[in-house]
Amino acid sequence: MPILDLATTSRRDLNARLHGLGTGRDEGDWRVLNPAGQHALAVGIDAPVTVRIAGPVGYYCAGMNQQATVIIEGNAGVGVAENMMSGTVHVKGDASQAAGATAHGGLLIIDGNASARCGISMKGVAILVKGSIGPMSAFMAQSGSLVVLGDSGGALGDSIYEAHLYVRGQVGSLGADCCEKPLRDQHKQELRALLDAAGIDASVKVEHFKRYGSARTLYNFHIDNAGAY
């Protein structure tokens, strides 16, 4: 198992080595020591590799990820898994703002809390937060799913398109054009699959969640809203 110590190896070397991996075969387990909150660690990987980072990371960790599994054994800074395309990013601690921003695919699991703007402009990613999320999360979320076992801060799903938001706890407030929607069978199945993927056992029941999504009133110009401009 390759071990890279960021106390003696530069971040650029780490990322260059990860970018050099082949996309076809399993590249095994890598371990990264002493991240000390550095930015842009393990970004832009496109290979079936597992990278375990032993400690807190800074901004944009695992951004643009494809295929790889990146496990952060600590907190993550702003924009973890930003624009992820596929693969899995697992934060064992808390995540800062804009976790999973604009991500198109893959699975982002956050064991702790996520701060403001979690899943902003998400475009297909599945995000599962075991704790709570901050305000303004899922702003302009386009597709994908956001599952929150705890609470949501205010203005959830403001100007949302077609993403599915599932929150088990309290929601501070809903943003413009976001509303509660019925939890139909298809949503229960989707939610159960996401909970299973994150290793959450059956004691967490899908019926305890509420689903939120777009009221679709902002899709087209509406003459009754003219006074608001």
Partner: protein, 293 residues
């Protein structure tokens, strides 16, 4: 951009290390603000004496003249001089400096606060003023990437507009011109064109009216327009406020020994016991404040 750091000690045993801890935090924030840096340290002091932190040419000569007339002590620290005089002499000293040496700038006044700022890399600024050798109960620092006004020492943070009060700011205010006019009507004068100095003046104005540090900051949410993360210190207090959309990043760590603020976690990574600290991001539009017992 800009980087902010702050450290408020609960455990007096750490006080001799305050400056060294803050210096390390400040230098980590160089990427966010390489133009200039500054810091305020709350060290020794008492109500009978006041410390004027001065900047300008021939500081030692000016201080010697003043001390011969009214007594006191002077310590030259790089390009700054800290003049300690009896509190009752403060008005006389200010008047004399203004009339005889208008080239001297008083950048901060406090019973305990000393304030230093300079253009250049944060590491050079910290070294020039021997930040690592300073002791105290709390301190705040700033690394600046100028956006709203020129890269000058006067434009560097922290800003102090009241005794033992100082503020560092990450962001930009859009109504600082109208606030400035309002505060000028109330007798405040400003040394720079900087929006952050107006924020400091606004808080000093509120504190002068009897507001607590926490309630003064709450009123910022009504009266200030723009982006801000503020870290503010007084003789006994330390407080944080972010604007209602939390535009600028902020992370805090709290242990039994200290409360620490960093614009990024990296700035906190070297603090003692950080692995066991409660790490959190301050909510938008919520005042966080701590007071010394």
């Amino acid at each position: 951009m800009c980087g902010i750091v702050g450290l408020f000690l609960k455990n007096p045993a750490l006080e001799p290390r305050l400056g060294a801890l803050l210096a390390d935090m400040l230098v980590v924030m160089t990427d966010r603000g390489p133009d200039s840096a500054g810091f305020a340290v709350y060290g020794q002091g008492d109500a009978r004496h006041v410390k004027l932190t001065l900047r300008g040419p021939d500081l030692q000569g000016v201080a010697d003249t003043l001390i011969r007339a009214i007594g006191g002590d002077a310590v030259l620290q790089g390009s700054h001089l800290v003049l300690s005089i009896e509190t009752c002499e403060e008005a006389a000293a200010r008047l004399w400096l203004a009339s005889e040496h208008p080239e001297i700038v008083i950048i901060g006044v406090g019973h305990r606060m000393e304030l230093y700022k300079e253009v250049g890399l944060p590491s050079a600024v910290a070294k020039r003023f021997n930040l690592a050798g300073m002791a105290g109960s709390h301190a705040i620092g700033h690394t600046r990437m100028a956006t709203e006004s020129a890269v000058t020492t006067a434009g560097a943070h922290p800003f102090s507009t009241g005794i033992d009060q100082c503020l560092v700011h990450n962001g930009s205010l859009s109504n600082h011109r109208s606030l400035r006019r309002m505060l000028e009507h109330h007798g405040f004068g400003f040394a720079t064109d900087n929006d952050s100095e107006v924020a400091a003046g606004y808080l000093s104005w509120k504190l002068r009216q009897g507001y607590s540090l926490a309630t003064a900051l709450e009123s910022c949410l009504d009266d200030l327009d723009g982006f801000f993360t503020f870290v503010v210190a007084t003789e006994s207090g330390f407080a944080v406020l972010r604007d209602p959309i939390a535009c600028k990043p902020a992370v805090m760590a709290e242990t039994a020994d200290y409360v620490a603020f960093g614009t990024e976690y990296r700035a906190l990574a070297g603090l003692p016991g950080i692995a066991c600290a409660r790490i959190f991001e301050p909510d938008p539009a919520r005042v966080y404040s701590w007071e010394r017992n």
